[in-house]
């Protein structure tokens, strides 16, 4: 399924939410169980205080302000009454202060729990996403994942602070009031509860319809974010090609779709909330009619009816509250669902199979890297690599040449275990890659890729992510990668902040930094994927000279378009149509391989 905009649309989730979804949040809250318990106790205390305040007023009125003498008793003296009023006001003030304090503490507690639980959930989600295989990121626009880790976790936090505590309070109130109503008059209670099935039916219908809307909103929001991010990334192309109007129109369509869903949501709430209100009033009308009749026929007292009516009005307030909070709840559930969907991506990056199905290759004479009959393709696409076999001997440099799109970069990705081959085996030091922990494998490899992604930290942090080594090593790495001049040109040298994606550097400079980053890693295997495409020949020649020195004790794979780069290698492999067509020295390939021969002829 595709949107008009090319992304695979997020799967529609048919199953309604269930409590299992909420249960999954429990582990994040559990560490704060004590605090949560205290917060709930405080909520109940606050409710009790809320109910106690009118009672204090009532007592003050009945006993001191407008006392009515019981038969045979004298009215209390005026001085006593005045003092009593003072005492009751004092008590009232104490309760009010307690109410304020309890509310303050309860809000702080709930916020702290909510924030910390969501922080834990966010990190759990981020850690999980960082562990997912690269193939997952091929399918997901980055902005969508960002939306999940920021906006959606935020929605869950709202669930906490605005809902959890208040739902407790409202449920508590509802049950209490229902009990009082039944106690006051069972028949009247049963009659007035007759509207409850209608309330349930309305709520159920509403829940079903609004769920789709909320789900739609979370999906559309991620789309908006994606379009935003993409426009910023491609701003130069958009502006120079004059694409602003068309792009704005496309964004406008997404924005309008989001807006229309928002209006649908308003419509749903605008119908639902009044419906609940009408049903509440209908219940009141029923009580006035039947209860009034009962008073006339002297089945119940007038006082009981008045009390009944006032409780009846209190009964529908929490129901409306819960319905109102439903908004936040739906939002949070839709978010929880999306987060859970990512969390359920079980296909972790490169799972380790400790019990290899293939025997380790014999230790003696093992090449560092060996690929045997590898077949690989992206997703369900036609294979890019088709029965490829190749070995890379230790301490040697292997160059790979071939037309663009032949699968050179895919080959590199397989060695790094970004992807798993469909068929065949890849070995590193004779061990099946599937039996190696990806972190251990990658720690020994340094990749310089076609597009040099840099982080928006300082230049030094980019080259030496694990901290600056001694000055001698720093100078050596910078010199080998031809970065010395670049660092000298920057105002603060290695401490210079290089901006988002290193965009304050030119592509050639970024490439040099990426090379320095690879060298600083001191890897067993170094892979250059067209790493010098944006660099001129003179700089490249200097890098190669430094590399030759650095790679003496190292294995290297170099993907090259310029034969000048390839020729320096110990061996050259020609990759065409997903296979190794030939492999050998420069001279041997000129003689043997027609493609290489032609490449050499055309090289300038």
């Amino acid at each position: 399924m595709r949107t008009d905009y090319g992304y695979a649309e997020e799967k529609r989730l048919g199953r309604p939410y269930d409590l299992k979804l909420l249960a999954r949040l429990v582990p994040f809250v559990r560490p704060y169980g004590g605090m949560l318990g205290l917060a709930v106790v405080l909520v109940l205390t606050i409710t009790a205080l809320d109910l106690a305040l009118p009672y204090v007023t009532k007592v003050a009125v009945d006993r001191f302000i407008v006392p009515r003498a019981a038969p045979g008793e004298a009215l209390p003296a005026m001085a006593q009454r005045m003092a009593g009023i003072g005492w009751m006001t004092g008590l009232f003030l104490v309760l009010v202060a307690a109410n304020f304090t309890a509310t303050f503490i309860q809000v702080q507690l709930m916020e702290a729990i909510g924030q910390k639980a969501m922080h834990a959930l966010r990190l759990d989600l981020v850690r999980h996403i960082l562990q997912l295989p690269v193939a997952f990121f091929d399918r997901q626009p980055v902005a969508r994942l960002v939306t999940r880790a920021t906006n959606d976790t935020q929605n869950l936090h709202e669930l906490f602070t605005s809902v959890v505590a208040f739902v407790f309070k409202d449920l508590f109130l509802m049950v209490g009031i229902a009990a009082v109503l039944i106690w006051l008059d069972l028949r009247l209670a049963l009659i007035s509860f007759a509207v409850l099935p209608l309330v349930m039916a309305a709520a159920w219908h509403f829940a079903r319809r609004s769920r789709d809307v909320f789900r739609g909103l979370t999906v559309r929001l991620a789309e908006l974010n994606t379009r935003f991010a993409e426009t910023i990334g491609g701003i130069s192309v958009i502006q120079l090609m004059g694409r602003e109007p068309a792009n704005a129109q496309a964004f406008g369509a997404l924005n309008d779709a989001y807006w229309r869903l928002g209006m649908t949501q308003i419509h749903l709430f605008a119908v639902f909330l009044p419906v609940i209100e009408v049903l509440g009033s209908a219940a009141l009308a029923v009580v006035v009619y039947y209860g009034g009749g009962a008073v006339v026929s002297e089945r119940i007292s007038l006082g009981a009816l008045v009390a009944y009516i006032s409780y009846m009005r209190m009964f529908f307030r929490p129901i409306r509250d819960i319905a109102e909070k439903y908004n936040i709840m739906q939002n949070a559930m839709a978010s929880a669902e999306r987060i859970a969907a990512i969390r359920d991506e079980a296909a972790l990056d490169a799972p380790v199979d400790r019990r290899p199905t293939t025997p380790d290759a014999p230790a003696a004479s093992t090449p560092l890297v060996a690929l045997e009959g590898v077949v690989f393709g992206y997703g369900t696409d036609a294979p890019v690599l088709n029965g490829l076999s190749l070995t890379v001997a230790r301490d040697q440099t292997l160059a790979i040449v071939g037309p663009t799109g032949a699968g050179k970069t895919s080959l590199i990705h397989l060695i790094l275990r970004f992807y798993a081959p469909r068929e065949g085996i890849i070995r590193f030091e004779g061990k099946d890659l599937r039996t190696l922990a990806p972190l251990d494998l990658r720690r020994r490899i340094a990749l310089v890729s076609q597009d040099s992604f840099l982080f928006s930290t300082s230049l030094g942090d980019n080259i030496f992510p694990e901290g600056l080594p001694d000055p001698g090593t720093v100078a050596q790495v910078l010199e080998a990668a031809q970065c010395t001049d670049l660092v000298a040109r920057l105002p603060e040298g290695l401490a210079t902040q290089i901006g988002e994606g290193g965009r304050t550097l030119s592509s050639g400079e970024r490439q040099l930094v990426a090379i320095a980053r690879a060298l600083a890693r001191n890897p067993t295997l170094i892979i250059f994927d067209e790493a010098t495409a944006h660099v001129d020949s003179a700089t490249e020649a200097r890098i190669q000279a430094a590399l030759a020195y650095l790679t003496r004790q190292r294995t290297a794979i170099v993907i090259a378009h310029r034969l000048s780069t390839a020729r320096a290698a110990d061996r050259i492999a020609v990759l065409r149509q997903g296979r190794i067509e030939a492999c050998g020295s420069h001279e041997a390939l000129i003689a043997q391989n027609a493609y290489y021969h032609r490449l050499n002829q055309q090289q300038v």
Binding site: Y7, F100, A246, H267, S506
Partner: protein, 580 residues
Amino acid sequence: MTLGPFDLLRPYLQTHRTAIALGVVCLVVVDFLQLWIPRVVKRAVDDLTAGGQEAGLGGYALEIVGLAVGIGIFRYVWRRCLIGTSRQVERGLRRQLFDHLQRLEPAYFDRHATGELMAHATNDINHVRMATGMGMVALTDAVVLGTAAIGFMLYIDVRLTLLVLLPMPMIVVGTRLFSRQMHRRYQRVQAAFARLTETVREHFSGIRVVKAYTMGPAAAARIETASTAYVAGNLSLVRITGAFFPMMVLFSNLSLALVLFLGGRATAAGTITAGDFVAFISYIGLITWPMMALGWVMNLIQRGRASLERLAAIFNTAPAIADAPEARPLDGPPERIIFKGVTMAYDGRSAALERIDLSLERNRTYGIVGPPGGGKTTLVRLMGRLYEPAEGTVQVDGVPLARIRLADLRRQIAYAPQEPFIFAGTLGDNITLGEAVAPGRLAEILKDAALDRMVAELPEGLETVVGERGIMLSGGQKQRVGLARALLSDRPVLLLDDPISQLDTVTGRRVIEALRRRAAGRLMVVVSHRMAAVEWADRIVVLENGRLTAQGTPAEVLSRSDYYRAACRLQATEDNGRAN
């Protein structure tokens, strides 16, 4: 002209003023109908007390249901009108923000991170929506119900009412004090959220490097730091908001205590009647909800204001590169582009170009060469006015670029940047950018950009979805897509920044041949590190360290420039024979 935060909102409120007025009227009606229902109940009870008959009860019941239905209808209208308006504001602001960002120069995006701008488009606009929608509702509610309650109280007893209003100045002072703090803390929270968004975005988009360099734990640690800062900001905020709401309730309870004490004593002393006192107490209950609503409104408004200010800061950034008032149209293809003493530096860096004098003419092809960081890309960017020179001018046919209408200038230019940006979508859309193109012409372009075979091999051809930033394409394929895009637009000025760097030599040569065929009648600039891509040019320009060190025909430059000579020799000798 700088916009205040509320100037952003005003046009929307004006456009939808009918809806807002209707909504507010309905809301007021609902408030009064709600006050009416208790009166009906009271009359029914009074009737029963007076020993009335069962006959009247049905009437009262019907009246209650009728009122409820009326409330329901008016409620529906105000929700649609008021909350609907807030959705309109959201939609309009987001669109406005997008349009504005599209007009800002690339240098702006060098300074502002994508993730932070994304946070503006979602989080901040969301806060503004909440502040306008629920803010308007709660404010109206607070004012109407508050006024009604005070009115009833005044009707019963003026002196007691004044007592009730005694804590009011405290509310005003408290609100002012708290809202300033609240505002400041909201600003901090929102900035922290933006940073969190950007940190997450950065590490997800660099996932391949994160994985290759086993930086997963470090990435998680950075996100954790950003998230911790966000949590801390929120907790500091809630110390204010958490005190503010209960404070509003506290004040209305203080009013009640005052009435209880002073009013109670007056009643006991017989100064006012017991009935008035009891009625008075019950009306004070009415004032509690407006007080709470007021607290909530303050909160929403402060949050919305902080967000609006952040948005206004963006809107107040005028595009640094825009049409000057005296901008002239550009008629016909440029004959000559001249750099006169041009110096250019990116933010906080030493000059990328220094005092460049250069003249480029139509019907000629220019090859630009030089070491990395020499200023080649900068030169090309200046021609499209993506950046502006710090000193000197770039002129087209004698007119400085700054005085030419931007759209006219860019209509003359086709540009293939070094790292072609691929949009999520189909391969075909990326080449045509969504414009209709005759199939024959498209086939021709595909052939020239050496894409024909690749497209033929794809099962879905041009309909293949290429994924975000062309993730499914190889570097060379992306480069050729960018090239095809530039060729297809068929413009008189063709700027190609390193067009064959990621192509193998065979394909690269095909592309160069196609470029040569198209050179006639155009002003073409080719930046490259490969001599094959530039050696056929009419003129070679050598840029080293931001300075123009040589220019002329290839033969002239070969004799004048050590750099060019060395570069040619390097590629020639290494490449076994076929040296020119």
